[in-house]
């Protein structure tokens, strides 16, 4: 069997000989041009923007191939160490040695014989001129001395200078982003056009007071030395840059989503790389269109979905229906896992968070993770949701976002979908909420940290250490006790039960008995699923298990829909077909598996069979209602 030509992860490996196929999109071509055409005295500075999974890292890794000294850094955290280690001591010593040779050659042209100690002094002066730093000049001169090389290397990677280095006038510790930017500038002055630096996954460059200025200086040095600097981040990165920084960046390239023809090209290319034939099959124009739509053209998601579809059919025909099924499959409910992963990622960053927050004890305003940042007012609310593939889910989500915003006005919202988000849904959510939905791919942690970090940067700064904590304090006051939430929830459950009761057919119905029996069957089953009174465990599940809450919502909608259907046919039998069609249009958006959490909970209360009963009463309800009317004449 032909091996699957699509990567299951579609995460760019920063492997400088990465053979992963690339399609030459316009933005990629532009980025290549910028980096390729740099020259001494005219370096390349490029801002590469794109959503998560847009292929920034993939492109950036490819761009590093334009330099003999590629330096790839993921984020500005521990940038000092990342940058120097990417270069390596050997390469550094080699470069300084070459500069020494150049100095000796220059001296040889003007003197009869070169005096070693004079050459070393001249090298240090040359380094001081290049790096504009007496400390770096000294350290780099000393790196040629075996006895100092290790100490210099330690210092360059960010450790405090050893005593013997301090005695040489190398006294400060290179810590923080500013020092790292300065070091990158020094590397640019040493390596010139040989150096291509990629700063990937950057949220902002001014994470400390002097960093913006240091970065500005770095851009100037890169420009003057002919090196290349590629700064990659989400679209918000551009907004975070000060005008003085932005105007020093030579080019800005935004990685666009793939269009269907681009997805098609990718499929052909990947298959050509895999098997030699640039085929579209087993995909079709229709399935490609569906994949593009469902993934919003996000390359990483496209490739993952392609992988799944191929795996599902073993290389046989992939239809749009199969694509949809795989898209759903791609989003198994793993809320516990996602939240656990998210918490771990946030914890690693040292950000304070509260989980399962119900501000104003409002069930609709449930916040999965509420994150605060030191020195910032307000907080970032992470709302976790399933895949967002239809309008109903969009509406629910919008409601939830609005509830959260109403309850917590100084909070910024991040949406995290445990799967795919249809292009139209994503656009609608962006329009309504003003935020992009994150898709919980396997590298969720990184994406989430980046998005939450970006939100944190948008929060107003404060000098009062207490301010950051006030949101959590207020929330905990509002939230008061879990008891209160449970009480509110119990009220809500009663409302639902009342709704069920109200929909009970009246005694004086004009409906045929068989038709009535069908409706009563539905109401009975839904009633049994939503009957939680006296069961504290069930109520607690409603608090802590998101799928329970959602299943409850679905049950409520379903009850109302079935009620409307019954009312319509009860009012006027001539409306039967139209009512059945309206009902079908709604319920096809309310798949029964969404009620499974309630059914499973009911099973633990009163024995198995709830799922089967659901299907028995609800499958093809409209057809059975029409048939029952026909039978009754």
């Amino acid at each position: 069997m032909t091996p699957n030509p699509f990567s299951p992860l579609a995460v760019a490996r920063v492997d400088f000989a990465d053979p992963a196929p690339s399609i030459p999109t316009t933005s990629a071509r532009r980025a290549f041009e910028v980096v390729r055409e740099r020259a001494p005295g005219s370096g390349a500075t490029l801002l590469l923007l794109g959503e998560h999974g847009a292929g920034k890292t993939h492109l950036a890794a490819a761009l590093t191939r334009f330099g003999h000294t590629p330096v790839y850094c993921a984020g500005v955290r521990r940038l000092q160490e990342q940058a120097t280690r990417a270069v390596g001591l050997d390469r550094l010593v080699d470069r300084v040695r070459r500069l020494h040779t150049d100095v000796v050659d220059t001296l040889a042209e003007v003197s009869v014989e070169v005096v070693d100690s004079v050459a070393v002094r001249r090298l240090e002066a040359d380094l001081r001129h290049r790096t504009d730093s007496a400390e770096f000049a000294r350290a780099l001169t000393l790196v040629l001395d075996d006895g100092f090389a290790e100490a210099v290397w330690e210092w360059l990677t960010g450790r405090p200078p050893r005593a013997e280095l301090r005695n040489q006038g190398v006294g400060r510790t290179l810590e923080g982003t500013s020092a790292a930017f300065e070091t990158l500038g020094v590397l640019a002055s040493l390596f010139g056009t040989d150096l291509v630096v990629v700063l990937d996954e950057v949220e902002r460059v001014d994470d400390e007071p002097d960093a913006a200025l240091a970065f500005q200086r770095l851009l100037e040095v890169v420009g003057a030395t002919g090196a290349a600097l590629v700064l990659c981040g989400g679209p918000a990165l551009r907004e975070s840059l000060r005008p003085a920084v932005l105007e020093r960046i030579g080019s800005v390239v935004r990685l666009a989503e793939w269009t269907a023809p681009e997805v098609e090209r990718y499929v052909r290319l990947a298959q050509e790389v895999g098997s030699g034939a640039p085929r579209l099959e087993p995909f079709t124009a229709g399935s490609i269109a569906e994949i593009t739509d469902l993934t919003n053209g996000n390359p990483r998601r496209v490739i993952r979905l392609l992988h799944r579809c191929w795996r599902a059919t073993g290389g046989a025909l992939v239809t749009p229906e199969l694509v949809r099924a795989q898209a759903v499959e791609l989003t198994p409910s793993r809320s516990g896992l996602v939240v656990a992963e998210a918490r771990r990622a946030l914890g690693e960053r040292g950000w304070a968070y509260e989980r399962d927050v119900f501000p104003e004890a409002d069930v609709d305003a449930r916040v999965d993770l509420l994150v605060t940042f030191p020195g910032r007012v307000g907080a970032c609310a992470v709302l976790v949701t399933d895949s967002v593939l239809d309008d109903f889910q969009v509406r629910d989500l919008v409601l939830r976002v609005e509830s959260v915003r109403a309850a917590l006005p100084d909070v910024l919202v991040v949406l995290l979908a445990e799967g795919l988000v249809r292009r139209a849904s994503a656009a609608r959510l962006r329009e309504v909420t003003g935020v992009e939905v994150l898709s919980a791919d396997r590298d969720l942690a990184d994406d989430l940290v980046a998005a939450v970090g970006a939100m944190g940067n948008r929060l107003p700064e404060t000098r009062l250490a207490d301010d950051a904590a006030t949101v959590l304090d207020r929330v905990s006051r509002q939230q008061s006790t879990l008891q209160r939430v449970v009480e509110r929830l119990a009220d809500r459950v009663d409302d639902v039960r009342a709704a069920v009761a109200r929909t009970r057919p009246e005694a004086e119905t004009r409906l045929p008995q068989e038709v009535e029996r069908l409706f009563v069957g539905v109401f009975d089953v839904l009633d049994s699923l939503t009957r939680l009174d006296g069961d504290p465990d069930a109520l607690m599940r409603l608090v802590y298990e998101r799928d329970q809450v959602e299943a409850f919502g679905v049950a409520l909608l379903l009850i109302r829909t079935v009620q409307n259907f019954r009312d319509a046919v009860d009012r006027d039998r001539r409306d039967l077909d139209r009512a059945a069609l309206a009902y079908d249009l709604v319920v096809e958006r309310l798949p029964l598996y969404r009620l499974y959490p309630l059914a499973d909970a009911a099973d633990t209360r009163s024995g198995p069979g709830s799922r089967a009963r659901l299907h028995l009463v609800l499958d093809n309800l409209s057809i059975r209602v029409v048939q029952a009317f026909d039978a009754a004449g």
């Binding site: 040889a108 003197s111 009869v112 014989e113 005096v115 070693d116 100690s117 004079v118 070393v120 000393l142 001395d145 075996d146 006895g147 100092f148 090389a149 290790e150 100490a151 005593a163 013997e164 005695n167 040489q168």
Partner: protein
């Protein structure tokens, strides 16, 4: 009369080896060029009657660019101290530890110090100047600089003194300070460095001034007139052999290059050696600036060859 190279140094196989009067009959080979004579006198003045050396020990540091005659000056100073101590009835020896770091190339300050005492033990045992009763203790402590120097007076036979020529500290001015702290009576440490500048020397002097006075000597490039003096000295020593004179214009031209004495020795020795190898008309015509430049080019070509 056989052709000779007037710049060859008796007793040395390489013309670039620094003069070493404590091992060879080199005392009168010193020419008072590049200020070295004045520095030598300065050293003698500092050490005076050697009373401070005998009671507390001393440390000397010679700085200057590569080839300025630092090692030759160090050796000359060491030889003077040995002679003078001998005259005072003290047995004095020079321990040349300048290559003590060559094999292991230690990098940490502590390892560098230990490599020197380790070397010192072997050298002193070889000289047979160690006190038999404390030999085992010295051997046990041979890589512990603090213990070695503190007890050195017990490890040496009575009325013995040492001149220790240290490995070059390179840029490590602090190492010189450490040796100043470790010095003991009857021990003279002498170090030389082509990487320490005036500022470093001032820093060292400052750091040690409460305990001792650093004997700092500095040598530099040749001064106008030095070339002529050097050449005249060397020519004057070889009346028995046949060799060409130096064209009149050469000393003045060489003065303008601000060479070091090492460079001068190298280019003259090499040019004469090359002409001697050619043999045909050696000694018949004066050696010119063009001969010297041709020889330099020839050597550079050899050095640059892949």
């Amino acid at each position: 009369m056989a052709g000779i190279n007037p710049f060859t140094v008796a007793g040395f196989d390489s013309p670039m080896q620094p003069l070493c009067p404590f091992r060879h009959e080199h005392d009168d080979l010193y020419v008072g060029v590049d200020d070295s004579e004045r520095q030598y006198e300065r050293f003698r003045r500092h050490l005076g009657d050697l009373s401070s050396l005998r009671s507390d020990g001393r440390i000397a540091l010679v700085t200057g660019d590569t080839g300025c005659g630092k090692s030759a000056l160090v050796n000359r100073c060491a030889a003077w101290v040995v002679r003078k101590l001998t005259a005072l009835g003290v047995t004095a020896n020079v321990v040349d530890a300048t290559t003590a770091l060559a094999a292991a190339r230690p990098s940490s300050p502590a390892e560098r110090l230990a490599a020197v005492t380790d070397h010192l033990f072997d050298a002193l045992r070889h000289l047979d100047v160690l006190e038999p009763t404390t030999l085992a203790e010295f051997e046990l402590n041979r890589t512990n600089p603090m213990r070695v120097y503190r007890n050195l007076y017990r490890y040496l036979r009575p009325d013995h003194a040492l001149v220790v020529l240290l490995p070059s500290p390179g840029v490590r001015w602090d190492e010189v300070v450490t040796y100043a702290d470790l010095r003991q009576g009857n021990v003279l440490f002498v170090a030389e460095s082509d990487a320490l500048g005036e500022k470093d020397v001032a820093r060292i002097a400052n750091a040690v001034e409460r305990h001792t006075r650093l004997v700092d000597l500095r040598v530099g490039a040749l001064k106008p007139g030095d070339v002529r003096a050097f050449v005249a000295d060397r020519f004057g020593r070889h009346r028995a052999g046949r060799f060409p004179a130096l064209a009149d214009a050469v000393p003045e031209w060489a003065d303008s290059l601000a060479l070091t004495v090492g460079q001068l020795q190298r280019i003259l020795h090499s040019t004469y050696e090359h002409l001697l190898d050619q043999d045909t008309d050696y000694g018949d015509r004066p050696v010119t600036k063009e001969d010297i430049l041709a020889d330099i080019r020839r050597r550079n070509r050899l050095l640059d060859a892949p």
